[in-house]
Subunit: 249 residues, 2 copies
Amino acid sequence: MTYCAGILVQDGLVMIADTRTNAGLDDISTFRKLHIFSWPGDRSFGLATAGNLSITQSVISFLHEGLPHPETGEIETLRNATTMFRAAQLVGRCIRHVREIDGPALDEAGVKFEMSMLFGGQIKGQPMRLFMIYGAGNFIECGIDAPFLQIGEHKYGKPILDRAVTFKTHLYDALKVGLISMDSTMRSNLGVGLPIDLLVMRRDAEDLELNRRIEAGEPYFHDLRERWSAALRAAHMAIPRPPYGPSSP
Amino acid sequence: MTYCAGILVQDGLVMIADTRTNAGLDDISTFRKLHIFSWPGDRSFGLATAGNLSITQSVISFLHEGLPHPETGEIETLRNATTMFRAAQLVGRCIRHVREIDGPALDEAGVKFEMSMLFGGQIKGQPMRLFMIYGAGNFIECGIDAPFLQIGEHKYGKPILDRAVTFKTHLYDALKVGLISMDSTMRSNLGVGLPIDLLVMRRDAEDLELNRRIEAGEPYFHDLRERWSAALRAAHMAIPRPPYGPSSP
């Protein structure tokens, strides 16, 4: 499994991804799923991946090599895409290209073409944007009403995002809530695990403000997990017991 | 969708179920999914259902009518089942019976035979037990290490159960945590909604201590939702922001 979340708030973008992959429960490895494409001062992008690792890694390789534009024949890359929308389309085209190459053999082998991606970032002078891109290469964009997107094992970590994140949330509070969301997911699904990769991009910086890996035992994340557990315990214990009983209406 | 949880603690059993059913997003209704079979002082059972409503309702009808025992030919019902294990087997046989009758036509119509049930209760002088019964009529039993089982849309509400419920949890704290779990699910999935049905059975009472429906606006549940929201907000706000930044290691 995998869990990745992208949060787009007023001050910038947070992306978080775990690193656990498994082919069955008995074959667990660590692979980076949060990829960075950055030309500081001009443009920076984060790309988080979920699903079949052979597919998503091939997509990443095509993004590095570029694809010929279907009409002009010129090699298109994230470096020369003119807008975030075009850049997201390029990611989608790379996905479709991998499907053309590998799809038939995967079909024959009974392997589904399953994958999804979060793609966020900013090109100088243009808006910062965050997209969720599907296996067919189509995509949706994050809006300000629900300023986050998730891929992979998303349900365990969604309630806290639903409750705690708005467009006006402080950038590092968004990171904090993203880490709480990751913690909830890790506790309920062993297929999601440490280390965690994260990035923070401040709006209009066109650069990464933070690009970090949280390993097991990292003091802040350890403390966050302990505090959150203790606070949840205190929270449910502070709620009175139901007044219902044999004699209640 | 549906969300049902059963919690089996030292002092007894809690079962909770929502009542929303939907055939598509534009056809939403209220149906009871928590069914009670009770002969006070001798035996009481709760049965919560998820999945295709035509299947689960047919199973309930067969449970009321009874099925001939495959060897003796005698009509077996929940009233005369000799143990909780036999009673759970009877539920499984009713499921298989419905599959025999309706399965081929459902297959032809492309409708999957999807359903699951929670079945809990106690027969006088025997242990209280809680089972999760699958669409094939097989089942698993709740143990003391993870003293709860869930069916339906279970992921949103699992983290709080994972954290807050142990076998020694007070019976009405278990009910409270079950309601928090239901609240988390309702917030994240519109397919799960009020009213909520619940029951509480105290161990060795062989009767229902509580059999109640929570409607919209019910004061305790309303207050629980408000308090839980406020406590979560306070909890994540009390955690310090990540100390990471451009200059951090």
